[in-house]
């Protein structure tokens, strides 16, 4: 136990103490040193020894500082030092300690445990408390009680798979306490009112009732209190080192106080003198005026920097007549306008005031929004993003493209000459190559052949189900047309054809010895010639191509320009190319991506166009390969047509777009006309000879365009909208379903959902 050297401030007390001891005549040196260092607690006042008490009181009355006598200090130090290292002093200290404990127990009011008896210590001669010996009988120990835990504090999952839990003293397995099933558990929760205050104890593997203390801890934790019940967070401060009577009396070091503590600082003086000198010389002005610069002066007298100035903020618009206090009466709002203005949000109002009229200036009230408006202007100035916009000061009509007048591009159809009525939606039409006959089919399965010039019906054919498509053979030497119904394509011969032509037609369609289809032909497809006699006005077809039973309605039939081949598509996406002369059919594609919308033969080359939902693909039939894919940007293609020159293609979509492709140019459209029809485009057709094309739509209109294509590659095609033909009614959301041009006249035939087939003439 290391006792620190007595600090210089303590030496005086030591000296005094010494003097006191001398007066008492009973110096108790062994206890002196340690006592002087150790006694800091109040309890020591209770531990009364006669000699000690005196020294205690000495200690408490703080001696005055006396630094005059240094020699005495030294002597007292010498007197103290050997005693501190004395072994006996430490032993006495220990003894005294034990006595202290006795005192403590005496002070306590409540006694717990065995009663203690107080005896007089033989060694110190002081009273001492002695406890009775512990006799190791049954009462004294609880070790014989049956401890439920036999294994100690181990991870209990080691016993998870075993039926027992540890071993008893005999080495026998102690079985697990019986655990009820879920029902028991539930019943116990219902029956036992204390079950909810019990928890599973892993060590004993059984439910244990929580003690009241534990429950109290839980309650305290729930209430966010200190879990320890005995802990008082608001205890009074115990002033251990400060406060009255606790002042530090002993110096920490014996070093004499340095001179600088009481001498004025030299450096400070130097610093102050520096300032004083500066003030004297006038370098520092003590209370100089805040600013010598005048508040306002010729700011712009000095040349400006060459930075360009920031753009000035736009000025608010100047007030107009409506803002006048006495505007003309027509500016005043009607009551409806007033209520409407009041109902709209502040931000949405066109004007931030309502025009008002006052008969005299004195009647004009203060404007209540004045400060708000000024404030919003300020907010605009510093919070609103500004964009420099070029104001277009042009006539909007100058933006319109300069196109030739439609009057100069005549002829084109402008009026409806005649109409042919069908009972139901007229789905499809076909025009004979000589421009005399029109065949039109409708949903009820009726196909009419009528004369264009007069509208006289020449023949009618009734089929069982709706007509999917009609196409007329473009050959000049024969005359027949095909009708797609269900899964069959019927070949029909129109009436009133010259005999020579009829003979060649019959020879083509029903030869005496029909050609055998080549082995490559699909076996599922059948060509059936009618057994009936070839009569010119026969309502039954001469030849029928039965498509495979899996396919559905034939939705489009298109002829090759020579008239021998025809392509058909069914709604089940199968594309077939049939050859009439050889009665041969083949499917050119094994599989096609997407649903096929339209197909078309190239007018001059052995190319074949297939429009799926989004793309138009161009195939070379001879080489059997894909040439290019045209990307139209249309969501759903509805129609397709090729310019007679073969270099241009138009594609229409259900999303009201029409794309013009220049096949020489690019795979992207050269021109997109979007939304000139208000509904989906249904059909497109280029005029075979005139520079015209037309588009029909579900909005019941037909648009005629002039489309001039130039043979040189430098001039872009010229597209001029010419005319909107109206006349078809919209039935069930469908308008004009198909349009066809006559070959050598600028006439147009259209079939509508209203069951009308119209002829439009120039």
């Amino acid at each position: 136990m290391g006792v620190p050297a007595v600090p210089p401030k303590a030496e005086a007390s030591g000296q005094k103490r010494k003097r006191k001891n001398e007066t008492n005549g009973a110096p108790e040196l062994p206890s002196f040193g340690p006592l002087g260092m150790e006694m800091h607690s109040d309890e020591e006042n209770a531990a009364v020894g006669s000699g000690d008490e005196e020294s205690e009181s000495d200690h408490e009355s703080f001696p005055e500082l006396d630094t005059r006598d240094d020699s005495e200090d030294d002597t007292s130090d010498e007197g103290n030092d050997p005693e501190e290292h004395d072994g006996s002093s430490s032993s006495s200290y220990l003894l005294e300690d034990s006595e202290d404990e006795v005192d403590v127990s005496q002070d306590d009011v409540v006694n717990i445990g065995p009663r203690a008896t107080t005896i007089l210590s033989k060694i110190t001669g002081r009273p001492k408390r002695v406890y009775p010996e512990i006799v190791p009988d049954y009462d004294s120990d609880s070790s014989t009680e049956d401890d439920p835990n036999r294994v100690g504090n181990i991870p209990m999952h080691w016993y998870d798979d075993l039926p027992h839990l540890g071993y008893d003293i005999d080495g026998k397995k102690v079985l697990r306490p019986a655990k009820g099933d879920e029902l028991d558990k539930f019943l116990s929760t219902v029956d036992d009112p204390s079950s909810w205050t019990s928890g599973f104890d892993k060590l004993t593997q059984s439910d244990q009732q929580l003690t009241s203390e534990e429950l109290d801890i839980i309650r305290r934790l729930q209430a966010a209190e200190v879990p320890d019940a005995s802990y008082n967070p608001y205890e009074d401060t115990v002033e251990w080192f400060t406060g009255k009577g606790k002042e530090e009396v002993m110096p920490i070091s014996a070093r004499p106080e340095p001179k600088r503590r009481w001498q004025p600082s030299k450096w400070e003086k130097q610093k102050v003198m520096k300032i004083v000198r500066a003030i004297r010389q006038g370098r520092i002005l003590p209370r100089k005026p805040t600013s010598t610069q005048p508040q306002f002066y010729q700011l712009w007298a000095t040349p400006a920097s060459d930075h360009p100035p920031p753009l000035p903020a736009p000025k608010p618009p100047l007030p107009t007549n409506a803002e006048s206090y006495n505007p003309p009466a027509e500016y005043l709002p009607t009551p409806e306008e007033k209520t409407e203005w009041e109902a709209t949000d502040k931000e949405d109002r066109e004007r931030n005031f309502l025009p008002q009229k006052y008969s005299a200036l004195r009647l004009v009230p203060g404007y209540d929004q004045f400060i708000q408006e000024r404030f919003s202007r300020l907010l605009d100035l510093y919070l609103a993003p500004r964009i420099q916009r070029k104001k277009l000061n042009i006539d909007p009509d100058s933006l319109l493209p300069q196109l030739p007048s439609p009057q100069s591009l005549k002829p084109f159809p402008i009026f409806e000459l005649l109409r042919q009525e069908h009972g139901s939606k007229a789905r499809c039409i076909a025009i004979s190559p000589d421009g005399v006959w029109v065949a039109s089919g409708d949903e009820s399965g009726l196909v009419k052949v009528w004369e264009i010039a007069v509208g006289r019906e020449a023949a009618r054919y009734q089929f069982e189900s709706r007509v999917g498509s009609i196409a007329w053979c473009p050959r000049d030497d024969v005359n027949f047309f095909v009708v797609g119904i269900d899964q069959a394509i019927h070949v029909l011969v129109p009436p009133y054809i010259p005999l020579a032509m009829l003979i060649t037609t019959l020879a083509l369609l029903t030869p005496v010895n029909p050609p055998q289809p080549p082995s490559s032909s699909s076996p599922s497809l059948k060509w059936v010639a009618s057994s009936t006699a070839p009569v010119s006005r026969s309502p039954s077809p001469l030849l029928t191509i039965h498509m495979p039973p899996s396919s559905s309605l034939v939705k489009q039939i298109t002829f090759h320009r020579r008239g021998d081949y025809l392509a058909s598509i069914s709604e089940s996406d199968s594309v077939w190319i049939h050859q009439i002369s050889k009665r041969h059919s083949q499917a050119p594609f094994k599989k096609i991506k997407g649903t096929v919308q339209r197909v078309q033969f190239h007018p001059t080359k052995p190319n074949f166009f297939v429009a799926t939902q989004r793309y138009v693909r161009m195939y070379d039939l001879a080489a059997q390969k894909l040439l290019r894919t045209l990307q139209s940007g249309i969501r759903w293609i509805s129609s397709l047509d090729i310019h007679p020159s073969g270099d241009h293609l138009i594609v229409g979509g259900y999303d009201r777009k029409l794309c013009w492709f220049d096949l020489e140019l690019s795979e992207k459209p050269y021109k997109v006309l979007s939304r000139y029809h208000s509904k989906a485009i249904r059909s497109l057709h280029f005029h075979p000879t005139y520079p015209l094309f037309a588009s029909s739509s579900d909005d019941g209109t037909i648009q005629i365009f002039h489309a001039r294509v130039f043979s040189d590659y430098l001039t872009d095609p010229l597209i001029v909208p010419l005319k909107v033909l109206r006349g078809h009614k919209i039935v069930e959301g469908l308008g004009v379903l198909e349009i066809r041009w006559l070959r050598d006249r600028p006439w147009l035939v259209s079939s509508g959902a209203d069951g009308v087939v119209s002829l439009w003439c120039n």
Binding site: P309, Y331, R374
Partner: protein, 643 residues
Amino acid sequence: MAKIVKKGTRGAAKAYITRSAAVKRLQCSLADFRRLCILKGIFPREPRHKKRANKGSTAPTSFYYAKDIAYLAHEPVLKKLREHKAFAKKLSRALGRGEWSSAKSLEDNKPVYRLDHIIKERYPTFIDALRDIDDALSLVILFSSLPSSPRLPSSLIESCSRFSSEWQLYIMHTRSLRKVFLSIKGVYYQAEVMGQTITWLVPYMFTQSVPADVDVRVILTFLELYQTLLGFVLFKLYTDVGLVYPPPLDISRDEEAAGVGAYSLQDAGPTNLGPNHRSKPVDVDGNIVKGRDVRKTIKELAAISLPSQEILASSILLPQTTTEVAGEDEFVSQSSSADIAALPTLHSITQLPSPINTSLLAPFTFFLALGSPRPLLEFVIRSFGGRVGWPSSMGSGSPITEDDEKITHVIIDRPIPTVSVLSTTPEELRRTRKYVQPQWVVDSINAQRILAEGLYAQGQTLPPHLSPFGEEAHAYVPQTGDLDAADLILGGELDGEEEELEANSDMSAANEDPADPLTAADLAMKAAAQSPTDLALLRSAELEAERAGRDTTEFESSLRKAFKKEDKDHLNKPPGLGRSHEAEMNKMMMSNKKRRLYERMKFSEHKKATERELLESRRAALRKEKTKELRKAVRGGLVVKSA
């Protein structure tokens, strides 16, 4: 292969910075940032691609130019703001410790920023500053009329009212006011100073209070800037016309509510005569006059209490005359040199702005009757050279009293009293004076001529007050001047006649048209009607008519008919037909971008047209109603007469 560019180091990501990033970068509070932005005139920008500027985020944020923020980073004001933050901490610590002396010394050395350099930076030339003064004037004038409160110290209000008075004094002195508009929001003034058109708005004289939804801190920051700007601008303006700035304020007169009259404009003496300039001794009648004598004489002169306005008026007249002389000189020199140069054409003359008569009201003396707005009228009348007086109950400083014989107009804004009140003015004076309402002054100024007082007399229903700033192009233009009652009646009859005529002609036309083809004269007339401004066509039509042997009166009536018919055709023509139909068709050949632009332009055009049509139809309806009433009244009068 091209070098891989790290993301966010180029383009919009680099050029723009969000507001929070800017605040972080400048290490200042949001309030300080706002203050800086207001003072420096930095405003957010709208990047073309928000996503690119904001690291792929599309959250709504405001963007600033990164360079703007970089310039802000070494702004002296920002440094001062930081110093102020430290100062505030030190001060609060000193106050908390009760160290009063150090608190005082801290307060004495408080960091204060000046905005001179910012003004110079934002407005490198004086004209730039003058051009941008509109908002400053409006705000300062608004604040000069607000009541002071703990948030708006009275010193601020005083300084604002000082600036507004100084501005008004300058405008009156240089007579640069051009237009005045009495609106429901306040009075708009437009002045032309050094070639710049400046418009400001003054609220009517009512006590206003700052509403709760207005952030006063923002306004105060703007006010700080605007006060500095106005101070420098006014200093320059005053010194340029040779006046002392700031004009001294007579406090006693200010307390008597003399308004702008409390300030006296002083001529600045000859400045900067040079160090070696020695004034030659002046001798009058052989005595050498010293500076002391001169000062004495000036004092004596000042002691004679002349109304300041008269001094002003005399001083005002001087520059006016000089400018006129200068103008004449210029004209003479031009005419002498115009021998070779092209003669002024009609077009060039009409293009020139009409000279503004700034001494329009100079021949008149006005007296403001009780109840008329004195600040407004005093400012306006004095700006146009008139003399104004007012009763002493409306403030002191009136140069004339009510019984002055020079008074030509009394401006009165009161109804005619039903019971004749004993007037203090003698009857003969009442007869010589004209009693007009305030609008007469304003309308005369805007019209640049003295309007007839009859329409504006006391108790009359005033003619509508129109905006002198005009309307937008193609907007509705109201008819100037109300039509006379007789005119209305006659016009109405004429209309009725014409309607009948038209009906007849329509019928006849229906009968005739298919029968006989139009003659050459008819065709010519039609052409003339189609372009009513073309005089040549009209002339040819007349010739044709002569050739056809028609009477001149007949020709005129038929011409009028043709005009009317053309108008009607023009109105009745549906938009979907003719040329517009073709345009509709051509629209589909436009690109999407162009079409959108076209449609937007057409939309606004259409909107304007509908608005105009609505107003026109309302006017027609109002007019018809009025005519009907008048007719009824006239008929009633006739009946009474005949009876």
